[in-house]
């Protein structure tokens, strides 16, 4: 802890510098690939959609860009009806049978 912290003085410029470094690293790394996440979303949904009907309005995509790793979170709401179809058509994917619950 520096002396200035003891007196309650925040050194916000350091935070600003770090935030900018992380942000610009992501922005510079992806010129022309800014739509990567929407693209990933479409591909993931298409893959899942082969097995379960998915309503694209019931999908929430969240991202947390970090300096070491980034987190991509995709919440897909699957209706109970769709789960029913899943159990009947493809028992291989039933998590209960796979002993995961």
């Amino acid at each position: 802890m520096r002396l200035m912290d003891l007196f309650g003085r925040q050194r916000t410029a350091k935070t600003a510098q770090h935030r900018l470094q992380v942000l610009l690293m992501h922005e510079r790394a992806a010129p022309g690939r800014a739509d990567l996440i929407p693209l990933l979303r479409e591909d993931i949904l298409a893959a899942i959609g082969k097995h379960i009907p998915v309503d694209s309005d019931k999908v929430q995509v969240r991202v947390e860009r970090g300096d070491v790793v980034s987190l991509l979170e995709i919440d897909i709401e699957i209706s109970t009806l769709a789960q029913h179809l899943l159990q009947r058509r493809a028992p291989v994917f039933d998590v209960r049978q796979a002993g995961m619950r």
């Binding site: 925040q10 916000t12 935070t15 600003a16 942000l23 995509v61 969240r62 860009r65």
Partner: protein, 271 residues
């Protein structure tokens, strides 16, 4: 149904984005449901001042073009759960903003919020024009400085002629927010005073935000100043503005961080 506010100025760097973030946070902390929308396509910054820059997935252009639903593009604030951000696109051209698209986005948001605050880009081109187009009222942000006052006058003219309200023959409510105000310099006659600016612009004064180092600290941290240091002078001034927006009668004083004799004397005189 939401009240749609545009925060505009003409001139850049006067504090539109700072004011949008500070007022959005102050209103939301009071329990109001608030969405702040960045209209600065290509040069977004509201996400940075809100501390949400690492979390933007979809933006206004995606919603306008139908790639994402508005509910999928809203970013919920991590500190206040009634505060949301709709970011601008960093990569698209500003021509991607369409009048119909913006109108639809605002129509879709209205039932779910108390306040929709549109952060206008500088200038008078497409982004600025669309940010004000569907507003119910306008906050004109100005500094007590000649070029800012002149640009504000120009913007007031546009608010009265190019907005949907104006085209329907209605009067657009316009309020002046004087930012980066230095009461001491105004008192010494080195800076235009509040009355000088009001005489020229002839719109009601919504608030005076004092020049303060806390504003830079807040932007460094990515926290609206009303949350980063609520006891600071600019935060108190913004909180007063938020209460006035809600219809409360709040006496107009210029809060101060300092308590020096000179500041007290001149601060009072300027207020």
């Amino acid at each position: 149904m939401a009240h749609v506010l545009v925060v505009t100025s003409g001139k850049g760097g006067v504090g539109k984005t700072t004011s949008t973030a500070a007022l959005g946070a102050a209103l939301a902390r009071g329990g109001e449901r608030v969405v702040v929308i960045d209209f600065d396509v290509g040069l977004r910054n509201l996400d940075l001042l809100m501390g949400a820059e690492r979390r933007v997935v979809y933006d206004l252009i995606h919603v306008v073009q139908g790639t994402a639903k508005v509910s999928q593009a809203l970013i919920r604030d991590k500190r206040i759960d009634t505060l949301f951000l709709l970011a601008a696109s960093q990569t698209r051209d500003k021509d991607a903003l369409t009048e119909d698209g913006v109108e639809r986005v605002i129509r879709e948001l209205r039932p779910f919020f108390d306040w929709i605050i549109c952060d206008s880009p500088a200038g008078i081109e497409r982004g600025a024009s669309l940010a004000m187009r569907y507003a119910d009222s306008a906050i004109v942000v100005a500094n007590a400085e000649v070029s800012s006052v002149r640009d504000s006058d120009r913007i007031i003219g546009l608010l009265d002629s190019t907005t949907a309200k104006a085209k329907h023959g209605q009067q657009m409510e316009k309020y002046l927010l004087l930012t980066r105000y230095d009461a001491i310099r105004a008192g010494r006659g080195e800076m235009l005073g509040v009355e000088d600016v009001l005489d020229i612009l002839c719109i009601p004064l919504l608030g005076i935000i004092p020049e303060s180092k806390e504003v830079l600290n807040a932007s460094n941290m990515g926290t609206p100043v009303t949350l980063s240091n609520p006891a600071s002078a600019p935060a108190r001034a913004y909180s007063d503005v938020a209460r006035r927006l809600k219809g409360e009668e709040v006496p107009l004083v210029v809060p101060s961080d300092k308590s020096g004799l000179l500041n007290k004397l001149f601060g009072r005189r300027a207020a």
